[in-house]
Symmetry: C2
Subunit: 202 residues, 2 copies
């Protein structure tokens, strides 16, 4: 595509580096900004710059936080003896939205993925192990809430091995047929797991 201006071209190139945004969408967004009042662009770029300058992560659980310790780790009402291990901040937000969990979290920052060159040392795994060790038996359960993918399963196995010397339960979130899902259209692996992992009907 030929751009009428180098400035437009540079902006389109940068915007189209964002995930899921191609050159056409980027051009639409950039031309939208050009058409709007310039303060809108500055408000956007300021918010992003401030985010990058001041963003910090909770020292305990590594979730995104505005302070040294995040609001969940600071809360008196959260059960500190249960840690839910997730990949990313998004997962914390998703679980918080269910209102079904009152424990605390540990954000790994990804999963072990040799294909993408991500090993255990790139994740907050040592931090989890030392967090459990420092709690001196106060932590009773680790819930693994990782993606049901090969990488997620690998990470779960690795974590389970690293945690086996502690006296605590390591659990994994239930895998099965989604609520509202149709048996007929559920893939065989999920359906198979839902039969193996069947629960008492009470």
């Amino acid at each position: 595509m030929e751009y009428p201006s180098k400035l437009i071209e540079d902006a389109v190139n940068e915007v189209s580096k964002l995930p899921g945004i191609g050159k056409k969408t980027a051009l639409r967004l950039v031309l939208h900004l050009v058409k709007e009042n310039e303060n809108k662009t500055y408000a956007l770029t300021n918010a992003l710059n401030k985010l990058r300058e001041n963003i910090r992560f909770c020292d305990t659980c590594h979730n995104i936080s505005d302070e040294e310790e995040c609001s969940i780790c600071r809360s008196q009402r959260r059960e500190k003896s249960i840690i839910c291990v997730v990949e990313e901040t998004q997962d914390v937000m998703a679980i918080e939205n269910t209102s079904q969990y009152a424990g605390v979290y540990h954000v790994l920052g990804g999963v072990i993925s040799p294909m993408n060159g991500i090993g255990p040392s790139d994740l907050k795994i040592d931090s989890l192990v030392s967090r459990v060790a420092q709690a001196n038996g106060a932590i009773k359960e680790i819930i693994l809430a990782l993606s049901p993918t090969m990488e997620g399963d690998t990470t779960a196995f690795y974590l389970n091995r690293r945690l086996k010397d502690f006296t605590l339960k390591v659990t994994s979130i239930a895998r099965g047929v989604p609520v509202g899902g149709d048996l007929e259209y559920t893939d065989e692996i999920t359906l198979g797991r839902s039969i193996l992992g069947r629960t008492l009907f009470n």
Copy 2:
């Protein structure tokens, strides 16, 4: 949605003001930037800030340009006696992509739309009329390439009235069945116009 950080919330609010980007997509984009190296965020915000600071429009055709006069208006190879009137920069890019047009352009910056409070004085219409007047008869044809909507048609009628005292042709791009389109699925108005505007088969 509850955000783990005010910074994230502010950034999501700003990004979700862009057209076609909702809160969920904005969150995904913002968390992507947080995960990447901070230089990527700064490259993005710098490109956008520079764009807003230095963007300028061609003095003649009002298209986006890096200089006082855009490359199309400056070019010796463009036919200056034909002006194609379009709404936006995107339209210039689309027509340039066809390689079927060798004249120059005039970018109105929108169409007359009383519903959105856009009247003739908000567009570069006076500028077009004085451009034609100053050319002193050198402009032979004005091609109206506006959207086939009520607003586009209104603008075309208005432009035609403003230009009627000059000795030039005012034409409109052809309306008809799109190439590769199916007669059966073409709406009646388009099909009707394609019959009224039929051309000699040579």
